[in-house]
Symmetry: C2
Subunit: 660 residues, 2 copies
């Protein structure tokens, strides 16, 4: 039996100390779940908790030390992730203030903004919001319609909402609390438009009244996250000083001359967006926490809840002893571990590429990366997009499965699953619509392919774990001898990790090559490029999915190989195998259809997944305990022994009757 | 272009008049959606609407004419289904009062109960509840623990909750409104227990106070359905007259002698349950209505919402022109039609086998069916179980897909998708947990197989549509020449309906045979029957799923062939093909792994699904209009042109700028 403390150490990863500190701090009563509140009370409650978070230093983690921050990007993401075990409204609200709003000031602003605003942002003296999305443009933010037109006489920008679909929409913090907004708008100076830039626009005065020219509306009820005050903003001739342009990547001189270190407007905009990638990384992490909570509740319930008798068994059968119940929960549990390890790697890369103290205080040029740095940044963005999409869909599906696995009890608010489901639901479409994100991932892969940038797989995970461990994996997964390896491993035991890795790698390579060929048609003379691309859209999404599945298996494999404790390693190895085989099982049609597997072997995959569910069943409770969620946070009656007590009481009663 | 009125006629089916009447009646302001209400106000509002429903005659439909009912079982189910376009709390609440509570009195009681209670149940003068589920027993209701022990001296039953997990739980109506409960309890007389029977137990007096010995608790918040007052009930020495036993299938004489026309306690109980099958049929129908509403909203939005430019296109691309968007919504739309036609057949069978005027007023024996009748009843129960499971999962998945397809707008309460999702969520586990229901379906198929009851497929759908139409289909699907047919059709066009039908029929046959073989091991000496059954549980669920998929395709095919209007027929034929091919596509691993299809053909299936999406895209709006949901009920801003107006306004603004 693996040791729980050892398991947690592996699960916790590099920022275990942040997790431990959060476990201590957040169990204080002021961070407890509030129970059912009306929207106004909920918002007020969350706002007060946010103030407490600022006090315990949560808000400082990701900001530069020279302004009073802790200068630890990774810690800020992990701390956010820890909030995901509690009220997700608080998590999102903190993300808005310190991640999106504060993060934009930090990443897109320069010293004048940092000095003036960051301390007040950290302390929450200056609550803000991040006004990017418009009603008409959510995915295609490069084509936002809000304008900020420079007036050289007044040395001011005039911010304008030109028509109804250009209103800012769904903006967290806008409906109630925000005083300052980072507004994304087309920068216009003279006759020229220079693309979307970020501007600091005061939206409320000290009394909480909308500033002149600003109209604010509440978005009203939502499926969940009722503690977050999402709102809409309209600007009508709102004037802001020239200095309110966040000018790291583009500036306007007093006379109206525009300058930028990046000539191409599109490239400039995507460079700006890239600095905000932390938001996606954080959402992936938060989705993981919510998923882990749901699994903890459902698996604990499945461990004690009984239903139906079986011949030869004295008591009724425990739910988790049924194969269908195991099938509903255990592969999801395995994927949750896989995502945790991939997330760990992602946060490490983010921490390395976007150090909190790394933003240069002056000017712009010095912050531009070299080619290698830019490739690394692109890789980070693609990985963040892919993991965010997969992690948030996994959260929706898994929390749903947990709800159903708990039957009527799972539908009750007191057992938390409804709120988890409703709160996380929007994760699949905010911070980037998942389907759009997967297209970004695929685009990255295709670009790499076309440009012959070399082995796409070599970068990324390699850095996240000890080089030595990785070399073993990298050796196995190098494309060079892929065909040979597959041939050699083709009849290997299904649990053979090398075979699983080679299989997923080969699938990705094949899907990528096929798509590249298919899209080549778009470049032919007279081709309808949109029709070609659109017709291949399912192929595009498939490429991104199989790519992320490979990434997950590699991350999990590396984590297992890095395990020092032999028992934990053996346990996680088996969990990893369940992840691998249930992933392969879900796509058997492809492996069969492309001659990668015989029918007999494919059939055995299903048998093996069943066998692994059976084998892991005794460790299910340990595996959810491995998440390290403090007991107080699992305050669902069905997760806390009420059901077990009732079942025992019933048994005692039945026994008494049987004894006459 | 198919004619909308003609399409609606086909969609509406036999009880089109009920649907038209409901469309008229329910658009009256008192049935309007209430908007966001607190739970207390919502319950009060729903209670008032329920009273209005009684006034407009909704409640009479399914009850016998001799007590003032309309004697139309089918109409009562369809009328319930129509409520599914509005506030689902009202639908469920009406189902509790007139379906579950009233239905149990009607189906399990005899004349003395009918005379005394049915008029007051219809008029809502007597609000009631259906107290079957206990905290400890939800799926395995044969082993409920509540007892009703006969006391011959007082000629009373004493109802008792023996321990905590025997409390009645999640009981709709219990927390606030119900005065009388149909309580399911183990009937004990003398030293003998005769299994679960239903008893009428007063739970509240005229002032709304709990009756002596009855404890009532509110279940509190739920994911959705906040207008339904679900509660818990405990009984402590509650005495009720002997006559309160609903005695159609079992009675106790004054001296305590038990009698029943059905000797075996298990068979007796399942016979009783079988009379309550209308509940599952109704839930399947209600799930359909909610699904249709969600699809109408998402498809209308997808028709006007634009995002991203494409080369050579003047305006941004409409969402529904993207293949991924079509993929997310159109196969779901096709399956929604398939379910509608299968539901129509199911309601017809129910109406035939359980006519509202058919319950004999006296005694029991006459109501027992002959062998043929019993087989038909079993078939009805299996089909209701299967369609309920598939329809409710389809509702969850489709409403979710619709929510995501509408992005942030889909997360707003005003656009209704959150409420639809949350309200329907419990449908997958109430009125029978879907996984348990699928096991019932499979059991029915296996039993039929073992007993050589002949062609399982011949009964069922056959009766639902004109015999002549059916004969054609039946000829094609008769098992006799299946192998020949498949060989002959193996290279037919993928859109060939004969091939699709044969393929699904063959798959079911193969899965059934394989499972039968596998389970045979349980009968061998020394076998662990539970382990054998449990190990095959995924196979069991698969059998039920492929069975229902075949049923759906047959029902859809029959509906198309019965279409008189050529244009509507052509349109629905294509929708049916999309249903067939997307169903086949989802299980390509099986068809490939079992040599039913070559890799090349399998690949073409995906291409054909894409092609069908493209072909049906222009008809998407017509197809959702075919549901006939009145405009007032689609009161989501994104479904009512607000978005279109905004997009046009933006375009006008852009054009003005372009013109200089």
């Amino acid at each position: 039996m693996a040791d729980l403390a050892q398991l947690r150490r592996v699960f916790d990863g590099h920022w275990g100390w942040v997790r431990d500190e959060a476990r201590e701090a957040l169990r204080r009563p002021e961070f407890g779940l509030a129970g059912v509140l009306g929207p106004d009370e909920h918002r007020q409650h969350v706002r007060e908790q946010l103030q407490q978070l600022a006090k315990v230093g949560h808000s400082r983690l990701g900001f530069p030390t020279r302004y009073g921050g802790a200068g630890d990007t990774g810690a800020s993401v992990v701390s956010f992730e820890m909030l995901g075990y509690g009220d997700l409204s608080l998590m999102v609200k903190s993300g808005v203030q310190w991640g999106l709003f504060g993060g934009a000031v930090q990443a897109l602003g320069t010293e004048r903004h940092h000095e003036r605003y960051l301390p007040a942002i950290m302390s929450l003296d200056l609550p803000g919001c991040f006004a990017m999305t418009e009603t008409g443009h959510g995915s295609d933010v490069q084509h936002l319609r809000t304008t900020a037109t420079y007036d050289p006489h007044a040395q001011e920008f005039v911010v304008e909402t030109p028509h109804e679909s250009a209103r800012k929409d769904y903006i967290g913090g806008a409906a109630r609390d925000a005083r300052l907004a980072v507004v994304f708008a087309q920068l216009v100076t003279g006759d020229e438009t220079h693309g979307v830039h970020a501007f600091l626009v005061p939206v409320r005065d000290h009394d909480g009244q909308p500033c002149p020219g600003v109209r604010i509306e509440d978005c009203g009820g939502k499926a969940g996250l009722s503690g977050v005050d999402n709102g809409r903003l309209w600007f009508s001739g709102v004037r802001i000083p020239r200095e309110n342009l966040l000018n790291r990547y583009g500036d306007v001189a007093a006379d109206g001359t525009y300058s930028s270190p990046i000539e191409n407007a599109g490239r400039r905009f995507f460079t700006m967006l890239g600095t905000l990638v932390r938001g996606r990384v954080s959402v992936a992490g938060g989705a993981g926490s919510a998923t882990q909570t749901a699994l903890s509740i459902a698996i604990r319930y499945g461990q004690v809840r009984r239903q139906f008798s079986a011949p030869g068994q004295e008591r009724e059968v425990t739910l988790l002893d049924y194969l269908t119940h195991q099938r509903a929960l255990l592969p999801a549990l395995a994927k949750t571990y896989a995502l945790r390890f991939a997330q760990e790697g992602l946060v490490r890369t983010l921490d390395e590429l976007q150090p909190a103290d790394g933003v240069p205080p002056h000017g712009v040029e010095k912050s531009l990366p070299d080619d290698e740095g830019e490739r690394a940044q692109r890789e980070l963005e693609a990985r963040a997009a892919g993991l965010k999409a997969v992690a948030t869909w996994h959260a929706s599906a898994t929390i749903q499965a947990c709800r159903e696995a708990c039957g009527g009890a799972g539908y009750l608010t007191e057992n938390r699953l409804p709120q988890l489901r409703a709160d996380t639901d929007v994760f699949t479409t905010f911070e980037g619509d998942n389907r759009v994100l997967l297209q970004l991932v695929a685009k990255g892969l295709l670009t790499g392919y076309r440009d012959q940038l070399g082995d796409l797989d070599a970068f990324g995970m390699v850095k996240f774990y000890a080089d030595q461990v990785w070399e073993v994996v990298a050796e196995r997964t190098s494309a060079r001898n892929l065909v040979d390896r597959l041939r050699r491993l083709g009849e290997a035991d299904l649990r053979n990790r090398e075979w699983q890795l080679a299989l997923l790698e080969d699938r990705e390579k094949h899907v990528l090559e096929g798509l590249a060929k298919r899209l080549r048609a778009a470049g032919e003379p007279g081709a309808d490029a949109f029709a070609v691309f659109n017709g291949a859209q399912d192929h595009v999404l498939r490429l991104a999915r199989v790519h992320v599945e490979r990434i997950l298996l590699e991350a999990f494999t590396a984590a297992v190989e890095g395990c020092e404790d032999a028992d934990v390693r053996a346990l996680l190895d088996r969990v990893c195998t369940l992840y691998a085989l249930s992933t392969i099982e879900a796509d058997l049609a492809w492996f069969l259809g492309h001659g990668r597997m015989t029918a007999g072997r494919a059939k055995r995959v299903t048998g093996e997944v069943n066998a692994l569910c059976r084998e892991l069943r005794p460790d299910a409770a340990l595996l959810v305990d491995g998440f390290g969620i403090p007991e107080d946070w699992l305050d669902a009656p069905i997760a806390q022994g009420a059901e077990a007590t009732r079942q025992d009481e019933q048994q005692a009663h039945d026994d008494a009757i049987a004894a006459g």
